[in-house]
């Protein structure tokens, strides 16, 4: 019907609408709104109930116990790659993948020389992990006790959304498992068997990687992060993932 024809029609008026019809219309509207609202609220539900919103959580407010964390003393890294070798060996990492690697930064310093900084990276075991939120089948989750982001390979459908969501490039698809693989702070290979530290931290000759329980105020990771006047930083803080891998230069 054209707009010109519409204009010629007589106005039916609202008074002829029965109240039953109004109610039906209202019901439909409310049902539609309800469905959408339900979905929206669900997709906003946080992964863990307790979440520290600060870079380093306040003492006594650690969401996990033990709250595993790693402190990387960046300036001491010499790029010997022994951490990478130890990781490959311990966790059966294939040649095409890696759970941890070392990136290299260079800048000019006063006097015209160059300074090279090595930056070890691994899964940040985030407190608000984007990879966990997106997984359609809960094949990856944050362990309720330790806070480690773990994988159940047999549940992984290989949609790779977690790989796209990870801000740190910490995940890769392991053909042998037909599942995404990632660093689990050596939970599977060492910690669950009673060992106290990760393979990479143990292998490091320069004492760059310090692993421990942040909730334990006597631990070295706690000390490093709570020394006065220490500058602490994390990678890509703007994405809001709240990492548990910290960088310091002391």
């Amino acid at each position: 019907m054209r707009i010109n024809d519409l204009e010629k029609l007589e106005n039916e008026g609202l008074e002829r609408l029965t109240s039953l019809e109004r109610r039906r219309f209202l019901q439909l509207g409310l049902a539609v709104t309800g469905v959408y609202l339900g979905g929206t609220i669900l997709s906003l539900t946080p992964v863990a109930e307790v979440q520290a919103a600060e870079l380093v959580p306040e003492v006594g407010q650690y969401p996990y116990s033990p709250h595993y964390a790693m402190v990387i003393r960046e300036k001491f890294c010499i790029d010997c790659e022994r951490c990478m070798e130890a990781c490959v060996k311990t966790n059966d990492v294939p040649v095409y993948g890696f759970r941890t690697t070392i990136l290299e930064r260079r800048r000019t310093v006063a006097g015209g020389a160059h300074e090279t900084i090595f930056m070890p990276v691994l899964c940040n075991q985030c407190n608000r992990p984007p990879c966990v939120r997106v997984c359609p089948t809960t094949a990856t989750w944050k362990d309720k006790k330790t806070g480690i982001v773990v994988m159940k390979p047999s549940r992984c459908i290989g949609c790779k959304t977690c790989m796209t969501a990870c801000p740190y490039n910490a995940r890769y698809f392991k053909e042998e498992n037909r599942a995404v693989d990632k660093c689990d702070f050596c939970w599977e290979s060492r910690l669950s068997k009673g060992e106290k530290t990760t393979a990479c931290a143990e292998a490091c000759p320069a004492d760059v990687r310090v692993f421990g329980d942040l909730a334990d105020t006597k631990s070295r990771v706690f000390e490093l992060l709570h020394t006065p006047e220490t500058i602490i930083w994390v990678l890509r803080p703007e994405v809001g993932a709240l990492p548990n891998v910290y960088y310091v230069n002391v």
Partner: protein
């Protein structure tokens, strides 16, 4: 079974498809290409994507995701277009409704075929989706809602065939609502990733729905014209009016998409937002500039928009030309959206040595074959539908 089919398949009336060698050859070719695509997909599952696909750790989503997005956007769009007539009662749009519903089913099935080979372990999905249901995952909502959507659309189509318009309208509305919810969740799959600046934000779900409506208009003109032309059917004046109406709605949607795209680009340049700026510049003047200016802007927006306006939606061959340009352009839109969103490396802007400024991705032969297989399967369903359902002619009601 036969009795059930008899109720669904029209025995008489409608338009008789011309039986010719060409038709059989077309079906045969599509069937063959589908088989080749499926074979390439199965081989990839067996050999591992690592060896057969162009995707990598850094760019995990490739052309198959783009093709999947293309198919489901088209499907949702066709569902939206079909609902204008027989859910919302704009009778002008009724003549295209049946074909639109049928093709929305055909396109989503083709999309599922493609995604089945993109996902490395798709067989784990039915069980994993239920026992591992994750309400915070947009991809879970998208998959689950699209499953429901396919179900509703199938029932709607059957009811339309049985001339039970009341039930068809109810299922049509259910299909529309789940389709829109599913599709906006697909947008959110990209839009809620904080780590990918090019995608992150409310733009994606909004853009997805609008471009679905646009794709639906383009697709129904495309398929309707081919069906009539190939069978030498004569379009009724109602059908011509419907095509005109659809073309105009399509042009309106294109105008909205042009507006959206302009501001997406401007907001990505202004103030050089980190991560986003590099991706936008790749499209505007980098490696993907031809895709963007030639594919997205010219073929996908400007050419169809200008044609539809120039002929005021009245010349069918010109509308077909517009829709052909539109279909190709929209494919480029999906491809660029998926790929360019992943090209800025994770640790960008940190001054890293031996670290790419921009990642790259090239689809492999296997990936391309699966896409061709998906397209061929969709076309085959289209051809079969025209013959089985006698030109999807709407009875008066």
């Amino acid at each position: 079974m036969n009795k059930l089919l008899a109720g669904v398949l029209p025995q008489e009336g409608g338009l008789e498809a011309s039986v010719s060698g060409k038709y059989t050859a077309a079906i045969g070719l599509c069937g063959l290409l589908t088989l080749v695509g499926v074979a390439a997909g199965i081989h990839s599952l067996y050999a591992g994507h690592e060896h057969t696909f162009g995707v990598s750790r850094e760019v995990p989503w490739g052309v198959l995701i783009a093709a999947y997005v293309f198919f489901v956007v088209t499907s949702t769009g066709l569902c939206i277009v079909s609902s204008i007539g027989h859910v919302f009662g704009f009778k002008n749009f009724n003549p295209i409704a049946k074909r639109a519903v049928f093709m929305s089913i055909a396109t989503i099935v083709a999309g599922f075929l493609v995604i089945a080979f993109e996902i490395e372990n798709s067989w784990r999905m039915p069980v994993g989706n239920v026992i591992g249901a994750n309400a915070t995952s947009n991809i879970w909502w998208m998959g689950t809602l699209y499953g429901a959507y396919l179900f509703f659309m199938l029932i709607e189509f059957v009811m339309l065939q049985k001339n039970d318009h009341k039930t068809a309208t109810a299922f049509g509305l259910a299909g529309l609502l789940t389709g829109v919810a599913a599709h906006s969740n697909l947008g959110a799959v990209f839009g809620l990733l904080n780590a990918r600046e090019f995608w992150h934000g409310p733009y994606m779900p909004i853009y997805f729905i609008t471009s679905a409506a646009m794709s639906g208009c383009v697709a129904i003109i495309f398929f309707t014209y081919i069906a009539y032309r190939a069978n030498n059917w004569k379009m009724s004046s109602e059908m011509e009016k419907a095509m005109e109406g659809v073309a105009k709605v399509g042009a309106l949607m294109m105008a909205v998409i042009i507006f959206f795209t302009c501001w997406k680009m401007i907001s990505g340049i202004s103030g050089h937002p980190p991560g986003k700026y590099e991706a936008i510049m790749t499209l505007l003047s980098g490696k993907y500039a031809l895709n963007f200016w030639g594919g997205e802007v010219m073929l996908g927006m400007v050419i169809p928009f200008v044609i539809i306006l120039a002929v005021r939606g009245k010349s069918m061959p010109m509308l077909f030309a517009a829709s052909l340009a539109g279909m190709i352009g929209i494919y480029f839109m999906r491809y660029d959206l998926v790929i360019v969103g992943q090209l800025v490396p994770h640790y960008h802007g940190m001054g890293l040595v031996d670290y790419p400024e921009l990642l790259s991705y090239t689809p492999s032969l296997h990936e391309n074959l699966v896409v061709v297989g998906g397209v061929a399967f969709c076309v085959m369903l289209f051809l079969m539908g025209e013959k089985l359902f006698r030109g999807h002619v709407a009875e008066d009601h």
